[in-house]
């Protein structure tokens, strides 16, 4: 069941870092909160469902990809309060590339695609700030992956040389 969100709950999160208090209040009015028990799946890899943008308010979320290779663990990240999940389902309506599971009792703020479309119409400056934040998050993730890929490739190419 969804609940209302207090503006103070999201004001200090990185998502709202570039927003004025009034804009945070507007964003809050377009969001709702849901509570989840430990073990509950908030969205599943490959699924097109549950494509709200999720802002974790309380608890921890495990973000994980399916194991694709024998003996190699899947990608696993633990999200703490303030983290944002479900970016691609939200922006592009693409299938989720990870599965998000509540590791403890969680409370998440949700922004639906419909509500975001409304914000784009009525408060484009807020929509731009949200999208810039998402670009920066993906930028960081790309740099991280690029580094890891380079390290793995260096090892592989070094192994070839030997």
């Amino acid at each position: 069941m969804s609940e209302y969100i207090n503006v103070d709950e999201i004001a200090a999160t990185p998502l709202c870092a570039e927003l004025a208090r009034e804009s945070v209040a507007t964003l809050t009015r377009h969001m709702s909160a849901t509570c989840h028990a430990k073990g509950e799946v908030l969205y599943a890899e490959g699924s097109l469902e549950n494509n709200d943008l999720l802002l974790l308010l309380d608890g921890q979320l495990e973000i994980k990809t399916e194991q694709r290779y024998e003996n190699i663990g899947s990608l696993r990240v633990v999200f703490e309060p303030g983290a944002v999940a479900s970016l691609m389902g939200f922006v592009a309506g693409h299938p989720h590339v990870t599965t998000a599971t509540a590791m403890s009792e969680c409370r998440v703020a949700r922004l639906s695609r419909d509500q975001f479309a409304h914000i784009c119409e009525t408060h484009p400056e807020i929509a731009i700030a949200v999208l810039k934040f998402l670009v920066l998050r993906l930028d960081e993730f790309s740099y991280l992956l690029l580094d890891r890929y380079k390290e793995a490739q260096a090892f592989v190419q070094g192994a070839y040389r030997r």
């Binding site: 592009a92 590339v97 784009c120 484009p124 993906l138 790309s142 890929y149 380079k150 260096a154 192994a159």
Partner: protein, 163 residues
């Protein structure tokens, strides 16, 4: 600024998909086309200079990432007309993740970060469409990197792909 890019030149580019005719026109007015010769470096890995977003109007650019652990040419992508280069770092102003080199005579539309801020203020609908495109492009790049990273790990561990 004196734009020298016509709306028709960029209308078919994926970054303009979903924009109105007026939106494409507005974007074109914020762009500046420059010519580059084969071998010209448009942006360099690790550098925070030349942070413009690039839309290729004619010719080809090769984006590659190297200079780590003494191993070169780890990642090489060929970009052509309509493609966008210099994405990583454009919004955040971080150092480039790769080097962009012209591999033929090129004509490239440059959008500076300042011009983009201006565009977001005056034509927020255009800014929103472009940012959505950047999110999707960066996500596709991440998915490709993740897949290659997993392939490298599987080679290192001698693992087989699960069916």
């Amino acid at each position: 600024m004196n734009s020298n890019v016509k709306a028709d030149e960029i209308a078919g580019a994926p970054i303009c998909a979903g924009m109105t005719e007026a939106g494409v026109q507005a974007l074109s007015l914020h762009l500046e086309a420059r010519k580059h010769q084969p071998g010209d470096i448009l942006y360099r890995e690790g550098s925070q200079e030349n942070t413009d977003l690039l839309i290729i109007l004619e010719g080809q650019i090769e984006a590659s990432s190297e200079h780590t652990h003494g191993v070169s040419e780890m990642l090489k992508i060929r970009l052509g007309t309509g493609d966008v280069a210099g994405i990583m770092g454009f919004v955040g102003g971080k150092p480039h993740g790769g080097t962009g080199v012209a591999v033929s005579d090129c004509r490239v539309a440059h959008l500076s970060r300042e011009q983009f801020s201006d565009l977001c203020r005056i034509h927020p609908d255009v800014g929103i469409t472009m940012l959505r495109f950047l999110v999707i492009a960066l996500d596709s790049f991440s998915v490709m990197l993740l897949s290659r990273y997993n392939d490298s790990l599987s080679f290192m561990h001698g693992s087989k792909k699960k069916s």
